[in-house]
Symmetry: C2
DNA sequence: CCTATTATGGACCGATCGGTACATAACGCA
DNA sequence: TGCGTTATGTACCGATCGGTCCATAATAGG
């Protein structure tokens, strides 16, 4: 009886995420979203409710998508190799130097803190999940004896997550993919298996 | 003859920087700036020209100020100790967990890339200067034999800069000062003097 | 065909944006 | 006192914002 639904939500999320990713939440206007999705205003509000709700849905869509991509590429590895695949998969996402878009989650956390609390919280939660992934890989690596650093696994996971966030800022600064890869390599070299004897001292405070 | 100038530009920069720092460039309206500086609209435009120009001036003011603060605290140290003071001084700036403001330069680079090219470029340049400072300290440390990592000094400086940016994202995410300090300590432990023998392998690609 | 239901896009809304113009108040000096 | 200069606040501007409304187009079943 009714006219069938024509909108492709997945396509809309894809297009919207590109826009939010590159220009941020506030700088992306409703008209921009209409242009890029090809929707009319009526359809847009019928389908998504508001710009804010679309952004929430886009964040979730983005997170699921990139999580699936990373999982796929690191599934066949274990320990440090899996961590490396995990980091590399992230680099692919963020290191397009022409677009300089960084990471939608980091961008959102930075832009929206104190301005859009709910949106900030959502992006923040997704971002924190990454540290847990790092932790899982590092625990495997620790057990396998691949980790030589004289540090707790949780500390290493925290450091990895911070590094990952720094890389996303680097991307936004325009650094090349090679530069980012070099940083990842340096980090992995630092934490990989090294002897524990003869260490001079350990910073504590 | 004339009515004396009452504007305190330094005070205005200070107040404006707090606002831009916490809420970003676009989310800070002209009225917000007028409220916080106590200026009238006429005085504001006579003194600063536009919101954009005020932001540029505020960025520069902020950079000079924080550079001076860091220089002061690391001037009496050399090598790795100086790097540590440098990182700690940055933490003091960004790790107020109640305000979660992160770093004005990083926030601006993220928010304004692709939206306000000139402002982005300005913040980007100031941010890149930090890597040079890290490099200088690390070169001193290398000569003094304090660096044990099997990596080039430039690679370490790049990694330090990336870590520093990651810490600023952490701040925006609401991590506590202690959590940030732990990450700094972990990093310094990683790069400080360790034996070079027996290293398994080195990541290259 | 006709009818019911939904998608569509433009007209329109009030609010807010950054910025300008200007009349007025406050002040130092002669 | 009066003059010259500057600060101040408000009225106002056009543009744009997110969001609502509604007349119209499109498409299914009867």
């Amino acid at each position: 009886m009714p006219r069938p639904i024509e909108i492709n939500r997945d396509h809309a999320f894809h297009k919207a995420s590109e826009l939010f990713w590159r220009r941020g939440y506030r700088a992306t206007s409703l008209n921009d979203l209409l242009d890029v999705t090809g929707m009319g205003k009526g359809s847009f509000y019928a389908a998504f409710g508001s710009k804010k709700k679309l952004f929430e849905a886009t964040l979730t869509w983005y997170h699921k998508r990139s999580t699936a991509a990373r999982r796929k590429s690191s599934d066949n590895h274990r320990g440090l190799a899996a961590l490396r695949e995990f980091l590399d998969a992230t680099l692919i996402d963020i290191s397009d130097v022409k677009r300089r878009r960084g990471c939608l989650l980091v961008n959102s956390v930075i832009e929206l803190e104190g301005v859009e609390p709910e949106l900030h919280r959502l992006a923040n939660n997704y971002l924190k999940a990454l540290e847990q992934r790092c932790l899982a890989y590092l625990e495997e690596a620790r057990v396998a004896g691949e980790v030589g650093a004289d540090l707790g696994t949780a500390e290493l996971a925290a450091l990895s997550a911070t590094l990952l966030q720094g890389l996303r800022v680097d991307s936004r600064m325009g650094h090349s993919r090679e530069a980012l890869k070099q940083r990842v390599n340096a980090f992995l070299t630092l934490i990989s298996n090294t002897p524990q004897t003869n260490r001079n001292h350990r910073y504590t405070s």
